[in-house]
Subunit: 372 residues, 2 copies
């Protein structure tokens, strides 16, 4: 029975456990939060810093394969563990590259992966030299997460909101659609991509829901899949790579960001596709044959976020209303405390038609709330 | 967050945990085997006897609802816990009734539930008075399990193979089909039945695989569903009731046996139906709305049994071959040791057509083996 070590014990690790159980794979988890979502259901749950060299080295002593569910981890330890002969997937150099958006971006340029024009910036002062990039998005190279470290700059007035840190200034893309594709590659070099999902935004500019199939042409889907395949091939990547794309009004497909792991945009594969992203991750890192990613039906995924105005022990409103809906799957992450916008779970909807899907998405969004 | 206590920590409990996680339900498990399948993934895993009054009483001290995944438990404790106000589903009187096949059978007679003719027998000597029942099946009232305590009697010569214990002698049914239906009922009185699955036997008389939809007429399926609904209604049952039926050559549907819990005949609902039996069990015992049981596609389920001739630490042969098949789901139960015929896991196959299903069932059965 293989023992997989996972750096990070959040919801991605938790859903990985649910998958790993089916193949008798033991999951050992490291997380700094003693109440992380993996706490109760991991085979072993270790509390400790993901960024501390010694902690990561000690954690990995008795495992067969090391993987991650968050990329902000101590890569020095990963490099040393790899040197000692431990299987580490994704590979430490990929994690390190993806930790720094500036290096990531340079990789796209060097390898003919389409991406938006950018310049490297080290301080706010330098912004004045790049007025021609406006409107633009400034992103810190390292440490940004879930919207932090990202600043939209429409005019020069916005320059003052910039960061005093090594950053990117990216020309804003005239976005028609945002889509995401999850690619997998194993040691044997087998590659598989999931069908594209579409990120549907609400007026408020927050992600409203994810939709599969995406409402894009076959050519756009094909282009995105080719880029995804080219990316994992050129990187010699092993594991799961989630790729977020912008599609512009001319149908050009460009890479926005990548994550070397299971991803929020793949949650609906649990019920929506023949193989889930969590199953696929396990298969990829253990060099097992990759699964068929075909859709079983149309699906949508709604994030369950802490309601604004509530902080405290989480309560779930509308559970019964949602459980009454056919083809609707609640996934809660066992987070004790809620706060505004905290990801507390997700809900997947499957339906034979998009019309039925949209009706149920509305019903879910109207009824289900996390309060305190 | 509700805490559900489960008596029994085998594979049924293990799959219940995978479901319960999605609703933030904590599962506390009691099992006499320190290495039972629920050991690592239950929120709390307690080692102790399911038949010991004090152990069960102590186990149930800090839980919100008590349920079972095996019916051979101490019902005295369950009755006392119920008196103390704990929610116990299925109810202790139903568990007690089902523990004794003689009482079970009497219930069918008293409530107009069709079942095969039978007599009560207390010793082998009495068999001579019931030659008119031949061919027949003798079953001990209590304690029989997985084929133990059951003896087919074709002629008087077989009488000597009988049991010196309170038993049933049932007239053999001229079976055309064996089917099973899982019914659920919650406190609100809501009732739901899963579509019938067919038990397909191999020449060797061992269950070969389970098939959904069953190859029966709509009338037969309807009759079976009505009996299932009538049974849970008349029993005032709460929880999940698995009902195994015989269908005879004339299309008569009669109840063979029942189990007050999730059941081997419901495993394929995880991928084959919109709601799984494990989700439904959780919903029923917590008085949540019952889920839609409709099929998502045709499905089959093959038990993964320890290969004959092998006893020891389990090894799985053919894993890669099976993982290459689309729509095929391996579920292993984390049992360390294998022995001949031990249930080590199951494999579900979903497919758009029965032809494709049969091809994959054959491939699975040919390739996948548990050896030591």
């Amino acid at each position: 029975m293989k023992k997989v070590g996972v750096l990070g014990g959040g919801q991605l690790g938790r859903m990985m456990i649910q998958s790993a159980m089916n193949l008798n794979i033991q999951v050992k988890t490291l997380d700094p939060d003693p109440n992380a979502p993996c706490k109760a259901t991991a085979h072993e749950f270790v509390v400790g810093s993901l960024n501390d060299y010694d902690t990561v080295m000690e954690f990995a002593k008795d495992i067969d394969v090391l993987t991650i569910e968050i990329e902000n981890v101590n890569t020095d330890a990963l490099f040393d563990l790899e040197k000692q002969g431990l299987t580490v997937y994704p590979k430490p150099d990929h994690i390190k590259m993806i930790q720094d958006k500036r290096v990531q971006k340079q990789f796209y340029i060097d390898n003919d992966i389409p991406t938006s024009p950018f310049v490297l910036i080290d301080s706010i002062d330098e912004l004045n030299n790049h007025k021609n990039m406006l409107p633009a998005v400034m992103k810190v190279g390292k440490g940004g997460y879930d919207g932090r470290g990202v600043q939209v700059m429409k005019t020069e007035e916005d320059f003052s909101k910039g960061f005093e840190a090594p950053s990117l200034l990216e020309k804003m893309v005239d976005i028609d659609k945002e889509i995401a594709i999850i690619a997998a590659r194993n040691e044997n070099g087998e590659i598989s991509t999931f069908p594209a999902v579409e990120v549907v935004y609400h007026e408020s500019n927050l992600v409203d829901y994810l939709l599969s199939p995406a409402t894009i042409s076959d050519e756009v889907e094909q282009k995105a899949k080719e880029i995804a395949t080219s990316l994992v091939t050129k990187m010699n990547f092993i594991g799961l790579l989630a790729i977020e794309f912008f599609v512009d009004k001319e149908g050009n497909v460009i890479v926005n960001e990548i994550a070397p792991r299971t991803h929020n945009s793949g949650h609906q594969t649990i019920e929506g596709n023949l193989t889930s992203q969590f199953d696929q991750h396990i298969r990829a890192i253990l060099n097992l044959p990759l699964g068929d990613t075909s859709r079983r039906s149309a699906s949508a995924m709604v994030n369950v976020l802490g309601e604004k105005g509530y902080t405290g022990v989480a309560k779930y409103e509308g559970l019964n209303e949602v459980l009454q809906l056919s083809g609707v799957y609640i996934h809660l992450y066992e987070k004790h405390m809620t706060k505004p916008e905290r990801k507390m779970g997700h809900i997947t909807i499957v339906a034979p038609t998009k019309e039925e899907l949209f009706e149920k998405v509305d019903a879910v969004k109207k009824n289900f709330k996390v309060i305190a």
